[in-house]
Amino acid sequence: MEKLLGTDTVKRGMAQMQKGGVIMDVINAEQAKIAEASGAVAVMALERVPSDIRAAGGVARMADPRIVEEVMNAVSIPVMAKGRIGHIVEARILESMGVDYIDESEVLTPADEEYHLLKSDFTVPFVCGCRDLGEAARRIGEGASMLRTKGEPGTGNIVEAVRHMRKVLSQIRKVSVMSDDELMTEAKILGAPYEILREIKRTGKLPVVNFAAGGIATPADAALMMELGADGVFVGSGIFKSENPEKFASAIVQATTYFTDYELIGRLSKELGSAMKGIDISKLAPAERMQERGW
């Protein structure tokens, strides 16, 4: 009865257990407990939520390990943490601390503008952002066990998350009806590993779970992403930058589960107070956009 750790099944399976759920950004034990009590399936421990990272400017790095540890000790649900794109050592530190999932995240300042982490080398599973099927397939090729659309983090504006989710899913539909002899050219156009594209064509879906992220601010936003085909949602600044985090968190969890029960979502939305203040994407200078980080 040999014990195999860190296999693809075990790493991808962990994300499958998160499906239909909400993963919430938290910056301390107190927020982590609020998230857990509201029904989050996991928390993302970080030093600042994306909207504050945006406001603060400068270099955004992996969170102080003390914060990650504090959050891990506070809750019994899984704890994720972000490391910089391509930062092998930040990822290894988080792995050694026993975090349950690492987000190789464009929300932080990339450490490497050319190469992402070789995630298949790690025992800990990784989630990565994507804007289209090529990017999704490249990350899977490197060993990501879970994906999320990038959206535009810290904006409270759903438009980019919608664009990316629609893009990925429409490209999957396109690939799945292609003839075999068209596939290599499509792989070249998308910049996608051929073998992974072939698997997607055969099964008609991604081989890993794909959540929505980057701009979800209300229960209706979360339900919209589920309706479009997300497996679950990440909410970053949307909860703890709202007027009433407890209520927002619980309402977003319920709206994610019952995403087609519009009467319920209406009721949930009624007495929430105001959502986080959003940003018009067109007002962001190109250099302020996080989604272009990574390739």
């Binding site: 009865m1 040999e2 014990k3 399976g13 257990m17 499906k19 759920g21 649900i77 969890v253 589960t257």
Partner: protein, 199 residues
């Protein structure tokens, strides 16, 4: 054809639905308590037990599932489902549905880095089963009426008590449907018994 429901609040719902359908039975997602009346057996899937618990509380699942249980209809809990089915939980946490006389340790095998696969011998199956354990629980104290089906590193990881089946691992993540077949047999038996009573 049997109708088997999968509690669809959160977690690996689709994987169970696919296995039920592949076995030739009808599968439905249970999102509202009244749907329990339409099904012959219930699966509580893997996922986050705390999340499912909050949603079950809020949407009034507790009593209807207890009634389902008292009507002797079969229930199968995997991982989070096993945690929710236990009569007791190790530590401070209160037990939830209390459907089986076991005490369960949540994340008994540890965090994600301790998650693993192993070939497991299961009572009633000829060949070992490739079992996938993810932040998995195990059962510690086992009541007299509980039949132990599988043990890993001296911890109980699958068990049955009358019409309730639990596993700490995830049969729905593998192509092997033998545990699902075992549960389908339990559902068939329960229907035969119910029919005998009404005759």
């Amino acid at each position: 054809m049997l109708t088997i429901g999968v509690l669809g609040l959160q977690g690996a719902v689709e994987e169970h639905l696919n296995q039920i359908k592949a076995a030739g039975e009808q599968a439905i997602i249970v999102k509202k308590p009244e749907q329990l009346e339409e099904i012959d057996g219930l699966i509580i899937p893997g996922g986050e037990s705390t999340t499912m618990r909050k949603l079950m509380d809020r949407y009034g699942f507790m009593e209807p599932i207890k009634t389902f249980f008292e009507d002797k209809k079969p229930i199968f809990g995997t991982c989070a489902g096993m945690v929710l089915a236990a009569n007791q939980l190790t530590g401070d946490e209160e037990a939830y549905l209390e459907l089986m006389d076991i005490s369960v340790k949540r994340n008994g095998f540890g965090r994600q880095r301790d998650s693993f696969e192993a070939d497991l011998s299961i009572k009633g199956l000829d060949e070992p089963f490739k079992a996938v354990f993810i932040r998995a629980p195990f059962a510690e104290d086992i009541g007299e009426d509980v039949e132990i089906l599988a043990v890993y590193e001296e911890n109980v990881v699958a068990a049955r008590q009358e019409h309730v089946l639990v596993s700490a691992f995830h049969p729905e993540l593998t192509g092997d449907d033998r545990i699902m077949q075992l549960f389908i047999q339990m559902v068939k038996t329960s229907i035969n018994k119910a029919e005998l009573k009404t005759c």
